[in-house]
Symmetry: none
Subunit: 248 residues, 2 copies
DNA sequence: CAAAATCATGCACAAAAATGCAAAAACTTG
DNA sequence: CAAGTTTTTGCATTTTTGTGCATGATTTTG
């Protein structure tokens, strides 16, 4: 059994049962527990599941608000603040989900009047609490792990839209490889969003710069603006500035 | 049971009941009280709950000035509890939004495995946090006032469904007039939901009995079950029992 | 204040994880 | 396809983590 096969089996298993034990997996596939542990650690780093002592839990398992809160912190606030400058009244704006985008949603000024379109349930939930913003939620079936709507209908609906702006919360970005992610369905949705917007804005904390995942979302040529918590002149951003995109 | 699972269960339990006793938890999960104590201490350090002698309290219990809130929602908790008895594994369940339904969503047992279909954004947001439940959100444009999806597409989507159960959070009910509401668009959606379910369950606090609004949703002949916080034998419910519906 | 319940602490033991290392498998590349 | 390189895997060893139990301290309650 190849590593890839094994990992995709693990992913199926964990999403099906919501939890797996290293011992069980080791036995089921006839490899040592060490190997399973290494797989689980790798998959945890790719945000495919949550590693815990003794096994792993599905991403949809709700816990660690504290971790999320700590993790969000000031960097994401800085990013949100920079992103706000791009938003004008009357705009149609596509957004993904993700903690950075949620932070942005929470920072929207109360007098803003715009239409937000998103496949992310948590994002929609934030937007709906805003006094003026119109919210359009695309699609019906909602993926538990990513909490966004996925599938053909969502993609089709997004393709019917011509938005002014697309805010993309991203998982990994690299000057050569471009933007990558690790969930095929999510990538399909993101691709559709990129195709439907006049201007694409990528938001990310600097930690994710120069990293890459298994599935490609798009090349950097599609990205018009990159926003991180760093100073735009920071050397880490040099390779991205060179591609001609705006760096904020 | 893994440590994280246990803690997640505790969190759910404490948020649901506002307080937990170490002894109960220890028994429910078959671990020693020491372990529970250690969990509670750890969770307290992470600000997930408040540790007290003998158990723990919910954070929200302490934050919001309790008394009023708890009493106001205690009726709804009773209703939610009664409604739970109608839900079986594997069911397809349509629900509206509204505070009563949200209370129900929060009370769903963690091991439940069912599909919930709703046009309500807050309801979907609750369902998605549950470990097993599948969530389908109907429709795209979301009305700000009611926070539910409205319009032709939503109605069309609901009409394509054959659900086992429809939980209807209602605004006004009267033995003669039936169920009424005050938002035309919302009524259209509710009508579609009633038409798409094998069994219709109306949930309401007794306060709304014998009242009516401007727009009619349906007659009582369409309602199979009525749930209030009152005892089923209460005289206030007499007129409804007479129509032949089940009163819980 | 005294009995009962609850808690903190240290300890023991088992399960799981990290680490370093060598063998095996999978891939490059000429 | 064969030799060399990289990746993957299993094993032995050490460390860490999770759990229960005993003991004595502390808090609650009647």
């Amino acid at each position: 059994m190849l590593k890839r096969e094994r990992q995709s089996f693990i992913l199926r298993e964990v999403n099906l049962h919501n939890r797996v034990l290293s011992v069980d997996l080791s036995q089921k596939m006839g490899v040592s527990e060490d190997t399973i542990r290494r797989d689980l650690n790798e998959m945890a780093k790719n945000h495919q599941l949550i590693k815990v002592h003794g096994g792993a839990l599905s991403k949809s398992f709700h816990l660690s608000d504290s971790e999320n809160l700590v993790y969000a912190s000031s960097g994401k606030k800085t990013i949100a603040h920079k992103a706000l400058s791009l938003i004008k009244n009357g705009m149609f704006i596509l957004t993904t989900g993700g903690t950075t985008i949620i932070e942005l949603a929470k920072s929207l000024p109360p007098e803003l009047n715009a239409t937000f379109i998103t496949p992310s349930l948590p994002a929609a939930y934030e937007y709906i609490h805003h006094p003026y913003i119109d919210v359009i939620f695309t699609g019906d079936r909602i993926s538990k792990s990513s909490k966004i709507a996925i599938g053909a209908e969502t993609v089709a609906k997004i393709k019917d839209i011509r938005a002014d702006l697309c805010f993309l919360g991203i998982n990994a970005i690299d000057a050569d490889v471009g933007i990558t992610d690790n969930d095929w369905e999510v990538v399909q949705v993101k691709k559709a969003m990129i195709g439907s917007a006049r201007q694409v804005v990528a938001l990310t904390i600097s930690e994710k710069l120069n990293s890459s995942q298994k599935i490609r979302v798009c090349g950097l040529d599609k990205v018009n603006v990159l926003i991180t918590e760093l100073d735009p002149g920071d050397t880490q951003l040099e390779p991205y500035r060179k591609t001609g995109m705006t760096v904020l």
